[in-house]
Amino acid sequence: MTPLVLTSFTGVNALGRGSAAVLEALTAARTGLVPCTFEKVQLETWVGEVAGLDDLRVCERLAEFDCRNNRLAELTLEQDGFAARVAQARAKYGPRRIAVILGTSTSGILETEHAYRQRDPQTGALPASYRFATTHNLYASTDFVRRYLGLEGPAAMISTACSSSAKVFASAWRLIAQGLCDAAVVGGVDSLCRNTLYGFASLDLVGRDACRPCDAQRGGISIGEAAGFALLERPEQAASHSGVALLGYGESSDAYHMSTPHPEGAGAALAMRRALDCAALAPPAIDYINMHGTASLVNDSMEDKAISTVFGTDTACSSTKGWTGHALGAAGITEALISALCIQHGLMPGCLNTRAIDPSFTSKVLLTNHSGAVRRVLSNSFGFGGSNCSLIFGAHP
């Protein structure tokens, strides 16, 4: 496929606000995970919480959109000069020529959780202050971001569980290739809520400690929250860019089970192969694989098998969820941002918190950070329902 450059990108997650904070924590091997004290949740687990969201409000003109998810979206849009860079693109192409394609799993459902604790004892009605369309509705954060940035091009909220904000890159590439827009804001937002904390706990997937991806003793996921955005343009049209381009994408379905991936990683391997084919690259062209690596028993095991099947045993790989936690619908964009930072700064992160790699694994899992030239990164995102997406990013002159 024809590469698209990431003109600008940014993210906010448990590591902090913006690319510099994320890079600094990655380099210093400092986790963003903390014991869970969110919303009086009584679960013994760790989370990747974004500090300060309770004290924020969305901008006055979009006040009806105020909720944790949209606060996180707005906070993120203002990092790394992202909104200002989009404003330049808007002036150049016009608002109708820029798409907004985002991903989420639970949108602003936390507002509904709050409202359900304040139901009228007689009628069961939700409080009068409750707003649905601008908070809980799946599309709410795309609507918010589109209005915040003043964009009027094609729009969608993709919701395919934990692959949501990876698949946005594929959708945006197709829209640009078909001429429906000249540029696209892609990304995702997912914020902590009791739905996902208690939901994943019900499936015995939540770890008691900070997650340890690929560890022999891994005990489950640490749920995180995050937002991230990237502006995609054709290289010849971008006046300046980040030096990183989207080179390929691969999507697949497991067709195996709703909440358990195929044990041999058949769907995951298919997504990786499709991404390589899409980018017209052979496996050795990939320097580093940013794994989905949730630290659940089955995910890491099947992903190791899938990577070994497609790449053999010499391609460096690791999961960065020991830093950020699993940001669910925002995992794809968070790890796209980390992949871009790895390319810009010649970094291959290890698996933070991991003590000993599962002895059954055959892929080359990194335990500690390595530095060196990183020209191309493949980033994996796999979700419930068997939704898989692999992305390839590369250095672009």
Binding site: Q42, A161, Y198, S202, S253, G385
Partner: protein, 265 residues
Amino acid sequence: MIEAWIEGVGIFAPGLVGWEQATGVLAGRQAYAPSEPPKLAPALLPADVRRRTTEHIRLAVEVASEAVRHAQVDAAALWSVFATSESDGAISHNICEEVAKEIPEVSPTRFHNSVTNAPAGYWCMAVQSQAPSTSLSGFDASVGVGLIEAGVQVAAEKCRVLLVAHDSPFPEPLHSARPMSALFGTALVLAPARSAHSLARIAVVIEPALRALSRLPDAGLDGLRTGNPAARVLPLLAALARRESAELFLPYVHSQALRVTLEPV
């Protein structure tokens, strides 16, 4: 502009049960008589799987199955796009009710069924498809957003795409916050080129100016159209049922519209 060839249709709603029956109603040959639709029991889901699913999931699988049968295509080879405004309202309600308690006990099956792409997951398992599948929302314009995504996939990937649009009403108290009059599901098989099974060619553009949206002449049907986000596509289905060339305006996000030109084969 994007173009695609419609090869198969599925539909399920009160008074519109299957494309054959719905054709008569949508073409104006029979009166629209909404009544409680039959219990959804798509044959593609084995009984033990069906028991673990919800009405929202069964609705998607039912209309998808019908469209694929109608198009006579290999279901496993189809890419798919599932458009829904609200995901599974009954599950959202149930889990929000549970997590409002101090010590919640969320059902694991209900939780994994709560992801927006649960219907897509069950569909892919039922037909053993490893093809890409995308679930998405655009609030009241979800079906328009889905039509753009599916149409762009058809053009960019040169593949057949199954577009499913389905929404089912919330129980109270969320029903008051996001009312829907009835459940509605539809599916279209879209192809990149004309084939022996083509029913019509559609061309879709996002309109630059505000447009009056297409309506249906029958008040009851038009009430269904405005009462459920997925049903906003009914004017397109009515044109298809009438086998007439048509220029239609369907809702897109932020009060924009899609101009859909339909030419029957």
